[in-house]
């Protein structure tokens, strides 16, 4: 076994190439994985932020970002369904934002009733009373360059209405490049020019003791012209829309798989070359009576050592890069389990890469030791 270590230490430059290959693959896999996880999270983050049980959307709405207005009677009728405890409204539409200096920018304006959810960023919740005005506008810290307000509060224009930017929030940064602004529901419909009873989404809570699926069913029966979804269903639909239907998820996943494959090629090339370079020594080892299992173990140990060191190096490189990337891609997100999970494929990669090498080392004729 010492031979495995020593070969690696001795042929450092070759070892470095292998390790670089592995760390490159791990880097790419973790980075792309974080993009995918972050993208999935961002695709449904506002739905997840609601404390509601059920979301009512116009028929065929695929994602939160693409809602359209519901008839005003939907909310009234929903409120009358037995088991519905509370109904709130949410709207989202694109609007034109003007900075104090006159720079224009398209933004996604989100308005919601104060009771939609504790984590849902709106200004008119009781916790913020007295700190900011109920019609304040909130923006995410990662969008500060786009929003371009020098101090808080600052007067700006949204769709030619005066608005007051009063607070920075976190975790709701631009998704697909368009910054989000948050304000109270009544303020949002004023900026957007909706009627007082228009809503894009009616979100509702079911009273204790009623079953969500029963309520959902009676709602659907009474309101056949809209979609009634549980919160998780709508969140899932939104995520699937962004990742599958737009192909964005596929692109991210492809890059992660490519990272794995490129890593595999680099690693197998170097491990194979390394084995072939030392093939005479494997022949000697076998001539001296080393069992096949030992020979295989030596080759595999070398590969797995490369895998382990490469993984660690890749992780050390990717963590700061992801941190740094947050300023450009605010929704990128690396859960703790992602790097842990990536060590596994990198080990699998190294084992796969060493298959050909192990085979060669095992089949080398020990009889050649007397020749050459």
């Amino acid at each position: 076994m010492k031979l495995a270590w020593q070969n690696i230490i001795h042929d450092r430059s070759r070892f470095s190439v292998t390790v670089l290959g592995v760390s490159f693959a791990v880097f790419l896999m973790v980075f792309q994985g974080s993009l995918l996880v972050g993208f999935l999270r961002a695709a449904s983050r506002l739905i997840d932020a609601s404390d509601s049980d059920i979301w009512i959307t116009a028929r065929g709405v695929q994602a939160f970002e693409f809602g359209t207005t519901l008839e005003s009677r939907v909310r009234e009728m929903a409120a009358g369904v037995p088991g519905v405890m509370q109904t709130d409204r949410v709207c989202m539409a694109f609007a034109v934002y003007r900075t104090p200096k006159g720079k224009q920018q398209v933004v996604a304006l989100v308005g919601a009733d104060p009771n939609v959810g504790k984590r849902f960023p709106v200004p008119d919740v009781p916790e913020l009373a007295g700190e900011i005005s109920p019609d304040a506008v909130l923006y995410d810290v990662s969008d500060r360059d786009l929003i371009a307000v020098p101090v808080l509060p600052t007067e700006v224009e949204i769709n030619r209405h005066r608005a007051s930017i009063e607070r920075q929030i976190q975790g709701y940064g631009a998704f697909l490049g368009v910054p989000f602004l948050f304000t109270s529901y009544r303020n949002a419909i004023r900026y957007l020019g909706f009627g007082p009873d228009d809503a894009m989404y009616v979100v509702l809570r079911v009273s204790k003791g009623s079953s969500v699926s029963d309520v959902k069913q009676s709602l659907q029966e009474r309101l056949p012209e809209v979609d009634v979804l549980t919160r998780d269903e709508f969140a899932h639909k939104s995520r699937m829309y962004w990742t599958i239907k737009t192909g964005a998820g596929g692109a991210i996943l492809t890059a992660a798989v490519l990272g794995f494959l490129i890593g595999l090629v680099v690693v197998s090339q170097t491990i194979y070359a390394n084995t072939m370079e030392n093939i005479e020594e494997y022949a000697t080892l076998k001539a001296l009576g080393a069992p096949k299992s030992l020979v295989a173990r030596i080759v595999l140990t070398q590969a797995l050592l490369c895998g382990a060191v490469g993984s660690i190096l890749g992780l050390f490189a990717v963590i700061p890069v992801i941190d740094h990337a947050k300023s450009l891609i605010p929704w990128i997100y690396m859960p703790w389990w992602l790097p842990v999970l990536m060590v596994l494929p990198s080990m699998v990669m190294c084992s796969l890469a060493s298959i050909a090498s192990v085979r060669n080392a095992l089949t080398v004729e020990p009889g050649r030791v007397f020749r050459a």
Partner: protein, 272 residues
């Protein structure tokens, strides 16, 4: 190295191996230091050697037949030299004795066991337990220091051996390499490398030592040194040594010289 160690480091699998051939387990395990005087019923001892062995390589027109019906036995505790012109089949003979090559026809005996019928795994076990190899090109592990090369020899013979570094150092000390034990092969002179290789071959007390042109890459002084070391293995430890060489200097160390010519035995000098 104490002589007593010889007997208890010998092949544990020997009885199993022997039971597969038609020789008794008792005779396979036996590797006493004194020359083997025991004679099997009806046959003389076949400690190490080949009988009517024919080896060929390739097919059709490209077929070469480096050995044709060669019979030669090497007695326990003797030093034999195999000579002959290039291409006469010396290495081929040694490969058979080392369980690295099976003849097309004929028999190969190693430590009283008929080995040419054994499986690869069994032959590997015989090499591991019974045979030390010395090569012209040394074949040391390039990334391991001298002591680790020798320690690997001990490890291969007995993976549980925990004293292998101490024992390796002891062997190197004996061969005058005590102060170079931590140098890598490429930092050693050819003579020193070959001494390390011999130490590795001797690690774990194999009863048989096979060497192919062990001094061909060495200068005269280093060559003599190796000759003397191998001779001592016979005199002090009763090992059986077979050396293949073109080098006439070996004659004075050998008990017996066998000359091969064109795949056949031309001459057996001082036949024992």
């Amino acid at each position: 190295m104490p002589k007593s160690r010889l007997t208890n480091t010998v092949c544990e699998d020997a009885s199993e191996l022997a039971s597969r051939s038609h020789y008794s387990a008792a005779s396979a395990v036996k590797t006493e230091v004194e020359p083997d005087l025991s004679v099997h019923e009806g046959t003389s001892s076949r400690f190490l050697g080949v009988e009517r062995a024919t080896v060929s390589f390739g097919e059709g027109g490209a077929r070469v037949c480096p050995l044709r019906g060669v019979s030669v036995m090497f007695k326990r505790g003797t030093f034999s030299l195999v000579m002959g012109p290039s291409g006469s089949g010396k290495t081929t003979l040694l490969s058979m004795l080392g369980c690295l090559l099976s003849p097309d026809q004929g028999s190969v005996f190693v430590d009283d066991v008929l080995v040419n019928q054994l499986s690869e795994t069994e032959k590997t076990a015989i090499r591991q337990k019974k045979i030390g190899f010395v090569f012209q090109a040394f074949r040391l592990f390039h990334s391991l220091s001298a002591i680790d090369n020798v320690a690997l020899g001990f490890e291969l013979r007995d993976p549980k051996q925990s004293q292998r570094l101490e024992m390796a150092q002891e062997l190197l000390d004996k061969f005058g390499l005590g102060d170079k034990s931590h140098q890598e092969p490429n930092e050693l002179s050819p003579g020193e490398r070959q001494r390390v290789a011999v130490a590795r071959a001797l690690a774990g007390d194999p009863p048989i030592l096979l060497a192919d042109e062990p001094t061909a890459s060495l200068d005269a002084q280093a060559g003599r040194n190796i000759c003397q070391i191998l001779r001592n293995q016979v005199d002090e430890y009763g090992r059986t040594v077979v050396v293949v060489s073109h080098d006439p200097r070996w004659r004075e160390f050998a008990d017996r010289t066998i000359t091969l010519c064109d795949g056949e035995i031309e001459q057996k000098e001082n036949d024992l």
